[in-house]
């Protein structure tokens, strides 16, 4: 038996030792999910932005006042190819449009029966982009009901949503951190009160405040790390399950929840950070409480 293996303050038998690991596990679980949401959303927006950068789409209704859209399309293409900054402009093939619409309309739907507009896909140089206002006016002269979609409005909304998700995630993490600090402070004060006679004895035989604080730190470190790892494993399992569920539903525009190395690093640091915060809180609580004692 190791002579110095046991804690001098018998904190392991306290009620806090039983319920605190669970609380930490729940907190880390929620914080991990919030962080994963924020990271995934941020990556998805970046991905969409990258995909749509330097492109615009022109929707031309198939029939324009009895005139076939084909003629209007030709004129629009000519206009585009003479517009400065435009690199490429092409009319999308019906099967390509069908493939894009299939996730929403189903495989059985036939484009021939639907008033699907013709689509012109335009690629331009993002560094020397055309004047979209002028372009829209010129297109309207050719086809008044044509719509020039630069995707900016949609991207703006998505970016705003992503920012909201990130702020909510940050708020969740901040609230969880605050809760962790409160819980550890309360549990530590309770421990100091319950073990008052032991602490007094340790003082009388020469223990300094930091020695007693180290006993509480060791206790908190153990349960916070244990709870943190459990919460993280649970969060990873949840993300994995969500990833499996969303697989094959890519067209729903839901972000890919597969974790990247950076995400893993952030997630793995989460229980470490919670443990650090909890341990530091225990130390500060003990030192501040003891400093007020005679």
């Amino acid at each position: 038996m190791r002579l110095f293996g046991k804690k001098d303050v018998p904190l392991d038998g306290d009620a806090s030792g039983r319920f605190l690991p669970w609380l930490v596990a729940i907190m880390v679980y929620l914080a991990a999910l919030a962080l994963i949401s924020a990271l995934t959303m941020s990556r998805a927006v970046g991905h969409w932005q990258e995909g749509l950068s330097g492109t615009l789409t022109i929707q031309v209704p198939q029939e324009q006042g009895g005139e076939k859209a084909g003629a209007a399309l030709d004129r629009i293409l000519k206009l585009l190819l003479t517009t400065p900054g435009v690199r490429e402009a092409k009319v999308m093939e019906p099967d390509e449009i069908e493939r894009l619409l299939q996730p929403w309309l189903g495989a059985a739907a036939s484009l021939a029966e639907l008033p699907v507009p013709a689509l012109v896909s335009v690629t331009f140089n993002p560094a020397a982009e055309p004047d979209f206002g002028v372009l829209a006016r010129e297109v309207a002269k050719i086809s008044p009901e044509a719509v020039v979609d630069t995707h900016r409005a949609w991207l703006g909304k998505v970016r705003s949503l992503a920012r909201s998700v990130q702020w909510v995630a940050l708020l969740v993490v901040a609230l969880i951190t605050g809760s962790a600090i409160l819980i550890v402070t309360f549990a530590t004060r309770m421990g100091l009160s319950v073990h008052g006679p032991v602490i007094q004895l340790l003082h009388l035989i020469g223990a300094h405040d930091s020695y007693i604080a180290s006993q509480f730190q060791a206790h908190v470190l153990t349960f916070a790390l244990r709870g943190g790892i459990a919460g993280l494993l649970l969060a990873i399992a949840t993300v994995f399950a969500a990833g499996q569920t969303l697989k094959g539903n890519e067209a729903l525009l839901l972000p890919d929840v597969a974790l990247r190395p950076l995400d893993w690093t952030v997630l793995l640091l989460l229980p470490v950070a919670v443990t650090l915060v909890a341990t530091l809180t225990a130390r500060v609580t003990v030192l501040r409480t003891l400093a007020r004692m005679p």
Binding site: M1, R2, L3, F4, K6, D8, P10, G13, P197, V198, Q200, L201, L202, H203, L204, I205, G206, A207, H208, D209, Y211, L290, A291, P294
Partner: protein
């Protein structure tokens, strides 16, 4: 309670414990001790006697820095204790071994671990101390109880564990509050010899006791606490 008569004019240097007109009261209650003054020289051995309630434990508690006096000044190891920081007070307590009247053993630690506690606190984590601690426990007759927990020990056994814990770090000053109250006369004398051995090695000893026959068997000065004051009786010279 008044002071103990003429106060030596010696400088503080070379004096281990110096009380100057110290009084103590708990809260707004009456004085437990009043105007107490005395000196303890390094390497001295004193018994402290007095009726129950005379304030022996209270006086000792001020020496081991558990309580602050209501009035007066206390110097320990040439320092005015009023000016000590918490860290300095902790370091000073490591020089003082205390045998508490109620033992104050930690029930979740074995006898061996309880005795090793002061060494652990002072940073001695070497497992070799186990041998030293076990030897000390054997000396006080507890060789068979190294791994016993305090709740399983008798009052006398607990008292011996408490004594072993107080002396294990070879303190400069040993304060013992009724250290033989729960042991038979033979063990009491044996423990007193242990304190004398420590005293020969330079430890200053103060033993608070009711046991007048034990006091009479040893040739050491006696600090007597009474309502009329504090006086020191020196062996062979009567009242000092």
């Amino acid at each position: 309670m008044s002071s103990c008569g003429p106060f030596p004019s010696a400088s503080i240097g070379g004096i281990l414990v110096r009380f100057e007109d110290v009084s103590l009261r708990y809260g707004g209650g009456p004085e437990v001790l009043g105007g107490v003054s005395f000196l303890l020289a390094p390497g001295s051995f004193h018994f402290m006697t007095g009726a129950s309630g005379a304030g022996k434990s209270s006086l000792l508690s001020m020496i081991y820095l558990a309580r602050k006096p209501s009035n007066g000044r206390i110097h320990l190891f040439d320092r005015d204790v009023a000016g000590l920081t918490r860290l300095e007070a902790a370091r000073m307590r490591r020089k003082i071994g205390v045998v508490f009247q109620d033992f104050r053993l930690l029930d979740h630690l074995t006898a061996l671990e309880n005795v090793a506690l002061p060494l652990k606190i002072s940073g001695q984590r070497d497992e070799k101390v186990r041998h030293h601690v076990a030897e000390l426990l054997a000396w006080v007759g507890l060789a068979e109880h190294l791994d016993s927990y305090p709740p399983t020990l008798s009052g006398g056994q607990k008292q011996r564990v408490a004594i072993a814990r107080a002396v294990v770090g070879r303190p400069n000053l040993l304060l013992a509050d009724e250290p033989t109250g729960n042991v038979d006369d033979r063990m009491a004398v044996r423990l007193l010899y242990l304190f004398e051995e420590l005293n020969k090695l330079g430890t200053t000893i103060v033993i608070a006791t009711h046991n007048d026959s034990l006091v009479a068997r040893f040739d050491h000065p006696v600090v007597r606490l009474a309502d009329s004051g504090v006086r020191v009786d020196r062996p062979g010279r009567g009242r000092a």
